[in-house]
Amino acid sequence: MCNSAVIVNWWIVKPLVLSDYSAISSVGKGVAALEEALWNEKTGLAPLKVEFAKDIQTHAGWIKGLDQPTTEGRFDSRSNRLVQACLTQDGFEKTVFKAIDKYGPDRISLVIGTSTSGLLETEYGYMSPSLEDESVIDHFREKLYYTHCFYSAVDYVSGYFDLTGPAFALSTACSSSAKAFAAAARHIEAGFADAAVVGGVDTLCMTTLYGFTSLNVVSPTPCKPCDKDRDGLSLGEAAGFVLLEKPENVENADKEVWLSGYGESSDAYHMSSPHPEGAGAEMAMRKALKMSESSANDIDYINMHGTATIANDLIEARAITRIFGSTPCSSTKGWTGHALGAAGVLEAIISAICIRAGMIPGCLNLKELDPDIKCNVAGSTTRADVSRVLVNSFGFGGNNCSLVLELGR
C-alpha cells in the first residue's frame, strides 16, 4: 500500500486544453453519437460473428463499415481505416490543418497509443496455405512493414498531414493512449512542440481474442463491470484523437475541458495480473491528483478502467475507495467494450463529454453490485454537475496511468 508521502518525484506540468476531439467506437461515429448512447444507455456490444473469431463465443464492440479499403495502398489495414474514419469526421481534420497553419508542421507532436496496430493483416498473411509462395513473400516484403509495426498509424497520420515534429507510437498494452497524453504534454512542457495530436486506435484481431481467451478473462455475455456475477471482459474497437494546446493559444479556453494532470506508475508485480493491493494503481491516481493540484474531494466522477474481470474491478475499486471514499464512479466498458490501447483516449473523451454535458454515466449492465466493492458505483446515467474527472487506464506489464480532466479554470 502506498500513500502520498512516498511520492517524492512530482513536478507541476502546466495544463493543456483539449481544443477539439473525435471518437469512434461501436456505439457510433462521432462525439455526438457517443454522448447520445451514454444518455440512452445504448450499448455497442453485440454477439461477435466474424470468421477470425469463429471458435469464441463472445460479445464485442465491432465497428461496422471498415471492410473496404479506404486508405492508401500500403497503409491499408482495418486499424488504419478506423484511424482515417476518425480523423475525417466532425471537422477534426480541419482542426489539425488549422493547428498546422498556426504552429507549423514541425511544432506539433504526434503520439498514438495502440496495442495491436495492424496485427490482423499479418495474422491473415500467416494463414496463407504456403508461406514460401512468392506472392506471400512479396506481400510481407511490400506491405506488412507499413501495417504491422506499432508505428503504422503514426506513419500514416504524419504522412496524411505532413507533420514533421516529434512523432512516435506508445505501446504499453491497455494504458497506451492514456500514456500518450502524458508523453505529448511533456513534449509541450519541454518546449519540443507547441501543440500535440494525441490518439489511440485498436481493432479486433486473433491475437487479442484468442489471447485473452487463453487467460480465461473473456465473457460469453456483454461485460458487467463491478457486478457480483461479472465473468470477464468484452473486447471493443475504437479510435480517438484529441488536439492539445496551451490555454493561452486557445480562444475562450476557460470554457473548454483541460488536461490538468497525469500520473504514471508501475506495479512491479506480474505480467498479466494486477498488484493484489492495487499499489501501482493507487500511486498513479495520487500522482495525477497532485499534478492537477486537486484533492480527492475535488473530483466529481471517476471513469474506472473497470474491465469486468473478477480481479481487476475489485482491486481498482478498493484503491478508489481508499483515496476517494464515496465519489461517484463507473466503468463505461459496458457500452464500448475494452478498447485496449484506444481505451485511454476514448474514455478521456467520454470524460470530457461528462464535464460538458453534466453527466455521470452509469455502469451499464450492472444488476447487483459486488458486495466487496465499496466505492460509489453509479447504477444508471444521471445529470450532475461535473467539473473534474479522473480517468484510469491500467495495462499488462503492470503499467498504470491516470488522467485528471477538468473544466477550464
Binding site: 518525484n9 513536478w11 506540468v13 508542421p105 514541425d106 499479418t122 495474422e123 498473411g125 500467416y126 494463414m127 508461406l131 506471400v136 513473400i137 510481407f140 506488412l144 512493414y145 504491422h148 509495426c149 506499432f150 503514426v154 504524419s158 505532413d162 507533420l163 514533421t164 515534429g165 512523432a167 512516435f168 507510437a169 506508445l170 505501446s171 504499453t172 498494452a173 500514456k179 502524458a182 508523453a183 511533456r186 513534449h187 512542457e189 519541454a190 518546449g191 519540443f192 486473433m206 491475437t207 484468442y210 489471447g211 487463453s214 487467460l215 504514471e264 506508475s265 508501475s266 506495479d267 512491479a268 505480467m271 498479466s272 501501482g280 500511486m283 499488462f396 506489464g397 503492470g398 503499467n399
Partner: protein, 266 residues
Amino acid sequence: MTLYIDGIGITGSGMASWKEAVSVLTGGKGYTPSEPEYVAPDILPPNERRRSVKSVRLAIQAAREAVDSSGVKMESLPTVFASCLGDGLVIHSLFNSLSKPGRVVSPTAFHNSVHNAPVGYWLIGAGCMEASASIACNESTFGSAFMESAAQLAVEADRILLVAYDIPSPKPLHYAMPFTAAFAVSFSLSKTRSEASVAGVEIGVAPKTGNRPSEMDDPGLEALRAGNPAARSLPLCHALANKRAGKVFVEYSKGSLLRLDIEPLP
C-alpha cells in the same frame, strides 16, 4: 537542453558488453558479427526467468550493465524502452498457432507478445514502481526514445533509463522487418552532472535537408547500424568509446534528424 550519460550497456551481435564494444569501437579489436548470448536475467523471480524470451533477456542485460555502471539503484529509475517490432520470435510462434485449427495459444506467449513485455519484466526484476514507457518508431525508434528520455528529464525526472533493442525475426516476418542482427543498447541518463557522468550531450534537431544520419566507417559496423533500429545508436556509442567531442545525427522524425553534441567528461 543538455543531459548527462552516467552509464552505458550493450548486448548485441559481436559485442557482449560495453567493455567489448569499446574495444571494437576504438579499433582495438576488429568487428566480427556473432549471435549474442541470451542470458536469463538473475534479477527475475524463477517463473519470470523461465518465461523470459530473447528480447526480454537482451534488453535486461543491456539495462543492467548501464544501471550498474552508473551506480544508481535500479528501482529508482523511470524507464523508456524502445523497439521497432517487439519480439518477432514470439509473434511468429503465436501467429503460427493462430493459423492452425482451434487457434490455441498459450497465455505466456500472449503476454510475451505485447510490445511492453521487456519493460514489464524489467520492472518486476528491478522492483521498480516508477513511470515506464514502451515506444516504437520504425527506423527512428532510437532517436525518438532519446528525445522522449530528454523530455522526461526536462519535465519530471532527475534520472532515466533508456533501453532500445530489436532482434531478427524468422521468415516470413523477416521479409517485412529485415533486421540483420540482434542489438540492445542502454543509457542511464541524468539531468545533472555527477561523478558518474561520462559525457554531456546537448540535444537538438537539424533539418533533414542538408544533413544525413551519421554512419559508421567500418563496413561491418555500418551494416549493423543500418540493419537494426537500436543500432542507430552506434555513432553515439562510437564517440563515447573514443572519448571524442563532436556531433552525431540520428534518424528522428519525418522532417528532422536528432542532433547530439557530445562532450566527453574526464
